[in-house]
Symmetry: C2
Subunit: 188 residues, 2 copies
Amino acid sequence: MEAIKAYLEKNVSLSEADWTFFSSKLVYREIPKKAKLLEVGAIEKHLSFIKIGIVRFFIPKFENDLTFGFCFENEFVSAYDSFLTQSPSIYQIETLTPTSIWSLSYEDLQEIYAHTSIGNTVGRLAAENLYRVKAQRELSLLNDTAEQRYLNLFEQRPELLKYIALKYLASYIGITPQALSRIRKRIS
Amino acid sequence: MEAIKAYLEKNVSLSEADWTFFSSKLVYREIPKKAKLLEVGAIEKHLSFIKIGIVRFFIPKFENDLTFGFCFENEFVSAYDSFLTQSPSIYQIETLTPTSIWSLSYEDLQEIYAHTSIGNTVGRLAAENLYRVKAQRELSLLNDTAEQRYLNLFEQRPELLKYIALKYLASYIGITPQALSRIRKRIS
DNA sequence: CGCCGAGTTGAACTGAATCAAGAAACGTGG
DNA sequence: CCACGTTTCTTGATTCAGTTCAACTCGGCG
């Protein structure tokens, strides 16, 4: 649980009382690999912090899902749009490896927003960071070639290349596994 | 200024005192058309609300800038990532028509966060909404064809087609003006 | 050992980019 | 209010990156 505290304190200073209240709401769970954290059509009830593990975000398709994101240790994971609006998710979340998480329910988070002084600040900073990641990705998708996006992964998140299957990375980059295989060959 | 109040009250209930404090920080400006609101490399100092007008977000390029967004009346406009991090913007904001805005400076917004009870809530809701828009756009860019994205514009924001040059829309969709011209021809 | 999913490679095809030129619309000055 | 020049839009021909379909290799696992 210390990892969550450290993560939050990078952004804002927590009072002892606020942390006690916050942490009392956290529920620990262990999930095997290749298990669903959230199904298409379900409403996301949790904002979770990954203690150990890797998860994948994707829209299931007949042959080759559309994988558009990953989360790692010490990151928050949630179908955040479904969570915010409490409406059915259009995508699915699945573990790639055995995963341990600390979960916060929607209702408990609303309580935290209402009853702690830093709740809204933490929420704002989280949303701002998520926004900045997506904004950057928008520009990358509009601007860069598939090859550039692959090379960016090397620089920005080399751990992805180690742990994640090529076909998922290809989808994330926006191309087919065959095309990524050829790009790899070309640049190596 | 009433439009801003109405906009905020869609999300959260404002006390008289909070609104007085908030609105005292707003500065009114009128900008001619084709004028820069923000240059590449500059730090975004303002979060502004458009009273009248249309603006365009883009990365200038030698022949054909990369246009990736627009803002209209009754919307907030800002190079939000530059604003949040107070670091140089990689893109530019320009008016397409004569534009009137109410501006809030970065420093004043920090004061609002610190001194009003609803500041952080408003900020969080704003960031959450911006996030959801970008997350949706990510999926559209990965998933949809250029033609589908064009048709989505028809449905979701028909006003864009009326007021904005084809070449800017093409860029927003992620294709060249020639390609969009051909898509138009095909579907009409 | 044999199977199965992941990755590679090849060939044909396709949507969009690029280069180029003409038509239409737009704005500015006389 | 028209005339001219500039910008935007359209259309055609060619090229290219990536898709699709298909066959084959490799490594792990029941």
